[in-house]
């Protein structure tokens, strides 16, 4: 197949027969069998147009009456072998394509840009090949997302984004259940670990990212010892026990995650003012019959109940204790939140097994860590050293509830609004993008769109995308498992990609030195 600008013996798949700057219509070459999402290229002199198939229709040069009559003859057995003469010339398929990119060629240098013109009328189109994407440059801190895809065909072209840009400007992963979003998150985390300069906080609600003895996970990363910290109630040997002292949790960490009445919020604030870090113990110790609390008896009772629920506390003869042992009212776990914040600052992936704690509990822990991090990064910003610190990002599953601010402002909506100034970003994962406020959606630099059958959701995401995805509705609806469209403010066009299976990625290993690292014999150890 020829891939240059000239038109020679190329296998053409169609020819432009009508259209405008928003959509071109090709007459499809017989047998080309283009599919929705296929990438085709129209070569003109010194410029080529990369287009995506967005709609397929029939075309014919035969009068509709004759077509219907012929169909009747065949179906009713009047003339079962009836065929039109010159069928291949007179009956065809029309392929509607959306111009994605215009690539100009000057002195051997290719410059891509959003289409500003349309190809010459009657230009021929061919299938896109790997060489058509040679203008794609490997970014400095490469985060591999997947291979460029033409319909269901994966091209040998890696699509990577610059980690710094990607993670600082927030990412939205929109997908319905079962379309491969967990796999995508694992791929992103694997890539982040390769650099060791991105701190990623992940509350893994299904405990599916770390890996087990029988399945691959982030633990299998060649840099796992340096770049991964795993916290769990039941950690594997050597990983961290999830034990958080209640003194590390501030009432602020609960706000916006759990619903409180104004009176409850005021009481929490009062407790914090009076007792500082010991606010929770002080609340639990309040005697509701005490004269000073009599008026607020109901509020105190409700607060105690909520706090006990969030932290899974139960009252025993010896006082309150956490039923699952995650939170401690004594002397354990005072540094856990600091450790997590430090690990993020050190560019590590901090993975918290959220499978055995409630979603709200996980969010409260994440809030505490991010509050700490904001404090630190605020300090670095003031002293002018922020840019030397690791870019941090938090992976937030089922994001809409928090980002919509249903229970008021919280640290996650703060990150969405102003995290970029503090080098703290968000990877929001949801199947309900429509619930996220438009101003927050607009603030998200990169949208990774996976299959979604809900038209409302497709519309919401398309409307907020960096590129015009108005004609992509059917393509998005038809995306298969692992297929995605990446629309980013850092990309000149919406890139169709196929995200690799994590197991394949983990099996191969990516990045310089990884194969060599595997080949090294283990050093002989000396124990004492």
């Amino acid at each position: 197949m020829e891939t240059g600008m000239g038109i020679g013996t190329t296998d053409y798949v169609g020819q432009i027969v009508e259209g405008d700057d928003g959509e071109l219509v090709l007459r499809e070459k017989q047998g080309a069998k283009l599919e929705l999402g296929d990438l085709v290229v129209v070569d003109n002199e010194k410029v080529k147009y990369i287009c995506m198939v967005s709609k397929l229709t029939y075309g014919s040069l035969i009068h509709p009456d004759r077509i219907l009559t012929s169909s009747g003859s065949v179906l009713e057995g009047v003339n079962p072998r009836l065929e039109f003469p010159d069928k291949d010339l007179r009956i065809f398929r029309q392929v509607h394509v959306k111009p994605l990119l215009e690539v100009a060629s000057e002195n051997g240098k290719q410059s891509p840009r959003a289409p500003r013109s349309i190809p010459e009328f009657m230009s021929k189109a061919r299938m896109a090949s790997a060489q058509d994407f040679s203008f794609m440059e490997a970014p400095k801190t490469k985060v591999f997302i997947g291979n460029v895809r033409s319909g269901s065909r994966t091209l040998p072209v890696e699509y990577s984004m610059d980690g710094e840009r990607l993670l600082s400007h927030h990412v939205l992963v929109s997908a319905q259940t079962g379309r491969g979003k967990s796999n995508l998150v694992k791929v992103l985390l694997w890539e982040a670990m390769r650099h060791g300069k991105f701190g990623v906080l992940v509350m893994d609600v299904h405990n599916e990212y770390y890996g087990t003895t029988t399945s691959k996970g982030l633990k299998d990363h060649p840099d796992a010892a340096r770049a991964l910290v795993f916290y769990s109630r039941n950690p594997p040997p050597g990983q961290q026990l999830l034990k958080v002292n209640l003194k590390s949790i501030d009432p602020e960490d609960l706000m916006g995650v759990v619903e409180f009445t104004t009176a409850q919020e005021e009481t929490l604030e009062q407790l914090r003012r009076q007792h500082g870090a010991d606010w929770a113990s002080a609340l639990l110790a309040v005697n509701e019959e005490d004269e000073s609390f009599k008026k607020a008896k109901g509020t105190i009772r409700a607060l105690k109940r909520k706090v006990c629920n969030i932290f899974n506390l139960r009252e025993t003869a010896a006082g309150y204790e956490c039923a699952d042992g995650v939170f401690d009212l004594g002397g354990m776990g005072e540094e856990t939140i600091n450790d997590m914040a430090q690990a993020l600052e050190d560019g590590k992936v901090v993975l918290i097994d959220g499978s055995s704690i409630s979603d709200d509990t996980g969010l409260v822990i994440a809030s505490a860590v991010l509050r700490k991090l904001f404090d630190r990064y605020d300090g670095y910003k003031s002293s002018g050293v922020l840019k030397e610190k690791a870019q941090v990002v938090v992976v937030l599953e089922e994001a809409p509830r928090l980002l919509s601010g249903a229970y008021g402002d919280n640290v996650f909506s703060r990150i969405a609004r102003e995290g970029r100034k503090f080098r703290i970003g968000l990877i929001a994962i949801t199947q309900l993008a429509s619930v996220i406020p438009r101003e927050i959606l607009a603030n998200i630099g990169t949208k990774i769109i996976m299959g979604n059958e809900m038209a409302l959701e497709r519309r919401a995401i398309a409307e907020s995308a960096a590129q015009d995805l108005a004609d992509f509705d059917r393509i998005i609806a038809g995306l298969d498992v692992g297929e995605a469209i990446v629309s980013s403010i850092f990309s000149k066009f919406p890139v169709p990609v196929k995200v690799p299976k994590f197991e394949d990625l983990a099996g191969i290993g990516r990045g310089p030195g990884m194969e060599e690292a595997r080949a090294q014999p283990a050093p002989r150890k000396r124990y004492f």
Partner: protein, 446 residues
């Protein structure tokens, strides 16, 4: 069965004769209590001695105490601690073991890449005892990672695991030490005898126990003791499958007096007067006195403060020992550098930047260019300790190379960078004849 669990004796850490006496009498008292209470054996979870080859007088005193106990047919089980362990030379622990005074538990063997520490059975009780010794800079973490957990799980009986490593989960807010997560401890033991952390700690299960030190004669530990931190050891009554019954035996090695004086805004004379008055009036007889003086004098120098006199007054009034902390005492006449930061590296960087240019050669020019960066590299090179298995010669050679590289001086014979070399050599003479580091000269230990 009944056993005692001690840790972090740090024998030989103190140099003051009276404190030495206190140290040895505390040890003697602890073992006497063990005998009186009829313990079957004693566990010492590391750092019996403050260094791997301590003063022989200290060793003699300890051996006498230990021997008296073991002569009754009972054993003392120990692991190395981070202080009394040496990867390259014999530790006093090895000598005591060879003499039959103590038994070191957890001697390692490797099976299929996994660490299998030796499991000993106590003859009197049948208790199975094993563990992992401590090493400097918490290097024993690797041993925990490689532990053959299944092998240890299968061992039956009342099992005790002895270790000298801090648990990350037990750190107080702001407390920084390296260690392991509690998850790194092998499962299924009836008792985990910990050491290394200088305070009493018992986890929620009541099986993971740190008794803290018996006696503390220096620094922050001394201050904590004076301020009331409990010091002693545990006597544990236990049987298989039953939660051990713990009894903390508080030794109260000494009574203390704690005094903090803020010198801010005072003249040297005023501070002297205040100190004299306090030293005369305080009831220090038979007590350890901890005096902390901080703040910025309005006039006079720190050397004008008559700490010698205060020491004499207190000694006359019968004080056992004065621990004086005047590190934070400043005068306006000293150019103080204050740096705040989240990490040691950050603070160091800021101080280097602040101090850059303060040392100049004869020509009035800075001794090296980019002083802050050079200082950072130099500190990093000097921080790098001798590696395991590295000979002294190799170590000094490496250090020499690293230091030269940090200073931008090439090895002798190399032409490039000679200018820098000359400048540094000249600076050496400017700074009172400080010589460049050379092979064979041992750097001063920290």
């Amino acid at each position: 069965m009944k056993f005692a669990h001690m840790a972090d004796l740090h024998l030989g850490a103190v140099s003051d004769p009276k404190m030495k006496d206190l140290e040895s009498s505390t040890l003697e008292r602890a073992f006497r209590i063990c005998e009186e209470r009829g313990v079957d054996f004693v566990i010492i979870a590391g750092d019996i001695f403050h260094i791997n080859i301590p003063d022989l007088a200290v060793v003699k005193g300890a051996v006498e105490v230990f021997k008296r106990f073991t002569d009754t047919g009972r054993k003392i089980y120990v692991v190395y601690g981070s202080h009394d362990f040496s990867p390259n030379s014999t530790s006093i622990i090895d000598i005591l073991e060879a003499a039959g005074v103590v038994v070191r538990v957890g001697k390692p063997s490797a099976e299929e890449g996994k660490l299998r520490p030796e499991v000993l059975t106590d003859g009197r009780t049948g208790a199975k005892i094993t563990g992992i010794s401590g090493r400097r800079s918490s290097l024993e973490k690797e041993a925990f990672a490689d532990l053959d957990r299944e092998y240890l799980k299968q061992i039956e009986g009342f099992k005790i695991f002895v270790f000298h490593t801090g648990l990350l989960e037990m750190r107080k807010e702001g407390e920084k030490f390296d260690g392991i997560s509690q998850s790194a401890l092998p499962e299924g033991f009836d008792y985990y005898a910990g050491g290394h952390i200088h305070r009493v700690f018992v986890d929620r299960s009541g099986r993971v126990v740190f008794p803290g030190p018996l006696f503390t004669g220096w620094g922050g530990d001394l201050e904590a003791t004076v301020l009331g931190e409990r010091r002693g050891f545990y006597i544990v009554e236990a049987s298989q499958g039953v939660k051990p019954r713990l009894e903390f035996v508080e030794l109260r090695p000494f009574e203390g007096v704690h005094k903090v004086i803020d010198a801010t805004g005072k003249t040297a004379d005023e501070l002297n007067e205040e100190l004299r008055l306090w030293a005369t009036e305080v009831d220090a007889a038979g007590k350890v006195v901890l005096l902390k003086v901080h703040g910025e004098l309005s006039s006079g120098r720190t050397s004008d403060i008559e700490f010698g006199l205060i020491r004499e007054i207190l000694a006359e009034s019968g004080a056992i020992y004065l621990h004086l902390n005047r590190n934070a005492l400043r005068t306006r006449e000293m150019g103080m550098v204050t740096a705040m930061g989240e990490s040691a590296e950050e603070i160091e960087g800021k101080i280097f930047k602040e101090m850059a240019g303060s040392v100049k050669g004869k020509d009035g020019e800075p001794v090296v260019k980019e002083e802050a960066a050079v200082a950072k590299r130099l500190l990093s090179a000097l921080r790098n300790p001798k590696q395991e298995g590295e000979s002294l010669e190799d170590y000094y050679g490496r250090l020499n190379r690293d230091v030269r590289s940090a200073l931008g001086i090439l090895q002798e014979g190399a032409g490039i960078g000679k200018g820098a070399s000359d400048r540094v050599a000249n600076a050496g003479s400017d700074l009172g004849g400080t010589k460049a580091f050379a092979p064979g000269r041992r750097p001063q230990a920290q």
